[in-house]
């Protein structure tokens, strides 16, 4: 099982190509918002969700997708899905 730092590290690789704010990206932590802080285009949020599904081999359902707006929620969702595997 990966720890939180490792998860954030993997997430950082996933979000990089969609990020439009390099400074916020460098300082990305649990409090970082994908749209507000990283300035990710909302049409690319689905790419992040699909990349997470592929990277971690999990399925993100609609309820989870709805709150996938920041690093904290993403980590919570990934952790819960990995624990349930």
């Amino acid at each position: 099982m990966m720890n939180k730092e490792q998860l954030i590290g993997k997430l950082k690789i996933i979000v990089k190509p969609y990020t439009n704010n390099p400074e916020a990206y460098e300082n990305m932590d649990e409090g970082t918002g994908f749209i507000d802080d990283l300035r990710i285009n909302s049409a690319n949020l689905v790419d992040i969700i699909l990349d997470i599904e592929e990277t971690f081999d999990i399925t993100i359902d609609n309820d989870d997708m709805e709150r996938m707006l920041d690093v904290k929620a993403a980590i919570e969702i990934i952790e819960a899905k990995l624990a349930g595997k």
């Binding site: 909302s42 699909l50 599904e53 609609n62 997708m65 709805e66 709150r67 707006l69």
Partner: protein
């Protein structure tokens, strides 16, 4: 209340692969996906529906001050589709929002309102000085009064609208 959204399809081609596995399934309802795949220009339909949803999301966000990733819950319906002009509505939890979209070349511009009369009165204004309130919502000053605006930027296009 009003909202807007612009899509520069040339920019969208650089940023998004709508043919990617899972992309349409996550963002669009069954009937929207059917309309997209049956249309001779599926790419236009993808970004038409997307801009309708985004314009309406801005209204919902302003009404509720909530943030949520809900494109799949905003159900688009098209009422009239002329060459460059599309009218329709978007339903979310039994609430109806009205939309009007212009499609010109590779540019799609959608306007939305929760009231049909308001939709007809939306004006595009020059993107001058735009302020943001404590909730991050944009507004301008017009002769000393605070007027809410909706702002959308994508690729080559920035559009600011008000009532």
């Amino acid at each position: 209340m009003i909202g807007n959204d612009v899509v520069d399809i040339e920019q969208a081609r650089l940023e998004s692969d709508w043919r990617r596995r899972g992309f349409l399934e996550k963002l669009f309802t069954y009937s929207e996906r059917e309309a997209i795949t049956l249309h001779p220009e599926p790419e236009t339909m993808v970004w038409l529906f997307w801009s309708m949803k985004e314009a309406v999301y801005k209204i919902w966000n302003r009404q509720t001050l909530k943030a949520s990733y809900i494109p799949h819950l905003l159900e688009c319906r098209i009422d009239t589709f002329d060459k460059n002009s599309v009218t329709g509505c978007v339903e979310y939890k039994k609430a109806i929002f009205y939309t009007q979209t212009m499609i010109k070349g590779n540019i799609i511009k959608s306007l939305a309102a929760d009231d049909l009369l308001e939709l007809a009165h939306i004006k595009e204004i020059a993107p001058d000085i735009i302020y943001k309130d404590s909730d991050g919502l944009p507004y301008i000053y017009d002769s000393g009064s605070k007027i809410p605006v909706s702002v959308s930027h994508h690729g080559r296009i920035t559009q600011v609208v008000r009532l």
